[in-house]
Amino acid sequence: MKIAITGIGAISAIGSNCAEMLEALQAGRSGIGKMRFLGSTHTDIPVGEVPYSDAELKQMAGITDEPAPRTSLLGIIAAQEALRMAGTQCDVFISGTTVGGMDLTEQHWYDYAQSKAVENIRLHEAGESTNLIAHALHQPFTFVATPSTACSSALNAVMLGANLIRSGKAKAALVGGAESLSKFHLNGFNTLMILDRQPCRPFDADRNGLNLGEGAGYLVIEREEDALARGTHILGYIGGYANTCDAFHQTASSDNGEGAYRAMKGALSMANLLPAEIDYVNAHGTATPNNDLSESAALLRIFGENMPAVSSTKAFTGHTTSASGGLEAVICVLAMQHAFIPANLNWKNTSEGLIVPVAQTLHRPIHNILCNAFGFGGNESSLVICAKGRELSETVPTPLHPKLAIEQLPAEDGSVSRYVSPAEGRRMTLQTRRLVAVAKRALDECGIEKPDAIICATQWGCMLQSMRFLQDMMDYNEQQLKPTPFIQSTHNTIASLIAILTGNHGYNATYSQGERSIDCAITDVETQMSLGLIHSALVLEFDEEVEKWDEVLALIGDRTKAIARAYVYTN
């Protein structure tokens, strides 16, 4: 089967649609500048902000009264464009995000109980911000999912969508991601000391960190035969893809780029392409000293001396985190359609170990593109986009065997410290240690050392650490914040910790979709098993009991619940 891309839509600091973005990319015009709408106290930090207020975005999105996170507004605008272009209806919507409605939570932190702010509480949840986009699109969606693996979220959305089409579970999928700027992650990245006060310079010898950006990017993907039958214009094809875990460190990438290497190799292998057949790599290229060196090492391992044209487009848009994979996949399709390679802006000098990117826009035909998106915890995803269709295998129905379910372990009987040593668990909360222990014990009892996939399902994510960081950020006016709670706050923290502690380079993901999170995780397992992509999987369903968030949830008669259930699947 061949999977065609028939629609693209995007919004970012360099344009509110594909045409505007194309014009800026070809003209070499960056969208990085002073923040206008975020309202952070760190006004010296440049950002790639979409140049419209929330009210203006609402108007563009056709949303009137109801509260909406900025993430959802950006998502609606980009998704509408992709759907319009494709001219078809989609039955599946998969949209990555991590920020979700964090912006609303920040705005109403001190006045939730007043006025209409209580309506916003549920929108904090990543899955709920996706539901809001889904609702506004008026499509016959039968499946909606929110992968939340930090900066690789949107590419993981593309992968799940492609797998669902290949396995016959979807006809046409709208896939990508959306993420607004938030004070939360601006401050979080600031505690990691990786935000450049100047426009970022990916792959440059003197690079000094990233600029955060915001936006959304979506693809409509469907079976080639459906696209041909409709007579629609095919923009390109999904050639191959892979997600792996670097399994090295929560925030640092390995020196040899092992995870990135495996992701790119996996994507090329699925596409049945040789490295020499790739003519453009849209790199993750955040411009942090660590990422660019590690990604260069991985690129050199794949391509050796025959390095194709490489550029990071983050000096145009900023790092749009969970949206980046979707946004950059759209940029890749534009590059292919208009036969140009976007410049890696601001690059001047190379130094040892770094690849040399394309400094000026190149005009030449492109046949095959590799697009990278890497996230916290070493969550590495690569996507190959091709001008000509690549044959992808279809489903072979295989039964799914749930081997075991393990529930929350009591901390007191020593079972937690048996699976997580004091040194390993030093930065973890007791809840986190319990979750990792539950997962490790389930694997232990099934005699599976390294499952092919580790997938988490959670409604609220790692809420304890999120609330710690948020509370400090609000109370200390964005000053003197500790990095550890931020590092542990992403939804995918637990899945990546399990991978790091067990040295597992396999598929790694987290879904946040309210009470349906676990269904999304199981759908992913079933689909990948039916395609023969994996043969074993650990699924961990979790949520945390968080007093601070319960104070807020009480306003809508709800509360958080501690959940820790591990399932091991084999076929």
Binding site: T191, L192, M193, H249, Q250, T251, A252, P422, A423, R426, R427, Q480, L481, K482, P483, T484, I487
Partner: protein, 85 residues
């Protein structure tokens, strides 16, 4: 100086969550990174924040920490020379 070293050890234990350790377990002259306590890049960021919160010392460049965090004693000497509170 010795008093500052003891206080600093306690602060390191708390800020880096070494739950089961006491100040006596930390050798003031042992390296903090690599061997010794075996700290990593996240710990370095926590120590930079500790200098800021407790002693009013702001480091703008994370690489500057390398020279300062060689041992508890070297860190204490740096604090004594540069503290603003």
């Amino acid at each position: 100086m010795e008093q500052l070293i003891e206080q600093l050890k306690q602060q390191i234990i708390e800020s880096l969550n070494f739950e089961d350790m006491t100040p006596a377990d930390i050798d003031a002259d042992a390296p903090l990174f690599g061997e010794g306590l075996g700290l990593d890049s996240i710990d370095a960021l926590e120590l930079i924040m500790l200098l800021d919160r407790e002693y009013g010392i702001k480091l703008a460049d994370p690489k500057a920490g390398k020279a300062i965090f060689k041992s508890v004693r070297i860190m204490a000497e740096y604090i004594q020379a540069n503290r603003t509170k």
